[in-house]
């Protein structure tokens, strides 16, 4: 009898201790800088070699938006003027290393059409098929020393926009292009992001 009471007390105590046990860590977030930063000050000049546009629908030309970003918005971020220079990524032999930083790359778009059911509300509920588009934009950018032809930074990024309105290609492209360029800027400017760590109690 006494033995069973002791066992019962031991089991209850074990359960109580078990329930009181908390996680031995706290999850904290620390700001970290991206390590892939580019020292733009090292270069005398920065040039933009127009990004190659691949697989875009013929009725839409993304060129002006892309050029505007590289020639007007990016110079403000890197605090250095960027000139337009068509080199097609090829090295320039009469330049010295560190003289010219070349920015270029490739952009491509995939559009998949889908039929979805759209419920129209009114006196009579009607179900109709509507065509929507799923957009996938891929951008590959390189930062290259024009003298050596060596890439100091290159990255390929992808962004998708599902359920895009096919009547608004300008909006769809701008939406995706903004998202993708924001990611790029964060990467090569070394802007902060948060990372989790386990702080032990």
């Amino acid at each position: 009898m006494r033995r069973s009471i002791i066992i019962a007390i031991a089991v209850i105590t074990a359960f109580m201790i078990g329930s009181c046990r908390t996680q031995p860590v706290n999850i904290v977030r620390i700001p970290v800088k991206s390590s892939t930063t580019i020292d733009f000050l090292k270069y005398k000049d920065v040039a933009y070699d127009p990004v190659k546009v691949e697989k875009f629908p013929s009725e839409y030309d993304p060129g002006p938006s892309i050029d505007y970003f590289f020639l007007n918005e990016l110079p403000k971020m890197i605090k250095k003027p960027i000139k337009r220079q068509i080199l097609e990524g090829k090295p320039v032999s009469d330049l010295k290393e560190g003289e010219l930083l070349l920015i270029g790359g490739e952009i491509s778009l995939k559009i998949k059409e889908r039929n979805v059911i759209d419920e129209q509300k009114g006196k009579k509920k009607r179900r109709i098929f509507v065509k929507i588009e799923n957009w996938e934009l891929q951008l590959e950018i390189f930062f290259r020393d024009a003298a050596t032809g060596k890439d100091i930074f290159s990255k390929k990024l992808k962004e998708t926009y599902n359920g895009a309105d096919r009547k608004k290609p300008d909006y769809n492209f701008e939406f995706l292009f903004r998202k993708i360029t924001e990611k790029f800027v964060k990467l090569f400017m070394g802007l902060g992001r948060l990372e989790t760590r386990y702080l032990m109690k």
């Binding site: 904290v28 970290v32 991206s34 390590s35 892939t36 386990y198």
Partner: protein
């Protein structure tokens, strides 16, 4: 005899106080860290370390504060000290792999570690 007992009591009391102070410094450091005051937390944990507390938790937390200050090499050495004191700690291992990924972004250490963990779990289930 009475004097010796009294001295022993005082010694025990002081030792108890010192251990308590170390623990307080450590906990206070944690509180500061949770509020984002990493430099102050670092100071508290360093004091706890100087007072003789040499635990994996202190070294791990010091390493995080060093990471916050962008002192990555020092942080790595502190993590290693923590791992030596507590070799089985998955939390320390994850912190180390994230730091390594930060130092060298091309390493796949974190994902590799996840795969290892999954494999371990899988093996456990089969048993």
């Amino acid at each position: 005899m009475k004097q010796i007992t009294l001295i022993l009591l005082v010694v025990f009391f002081l030792a108890g106080c010192s251990a308590n102070r170390v623990n307080t410094e450590f906990k206070f450091g944690n509180k500061l860290a949770k509020r984002g005051l990493w430099k102050e937390a670092y100071y508290r944990w360093s004091r706890a370390l100087k007072d003789g507390e040499n635990s994996a938790a202190i070294h791990n937390n010091i390493a995080i504060s060093l990471e916050f200050q962008n002192k990555l090499k020092e942080a790595e050495s502190e993590y290693q000290k923590a791992l030596k004191l507590s070799p089985g700690s998955e939390y320390i291992k994850r912190n180390i792999s994230r730091l390594k990924k930060r130092i060298n972004p091309d390493t796949e250490s974190d994902s590799q570690e996840r795969k290892d963990l999954k494999m371990k779990k899988g093996k456990g289930r089969r048993k």
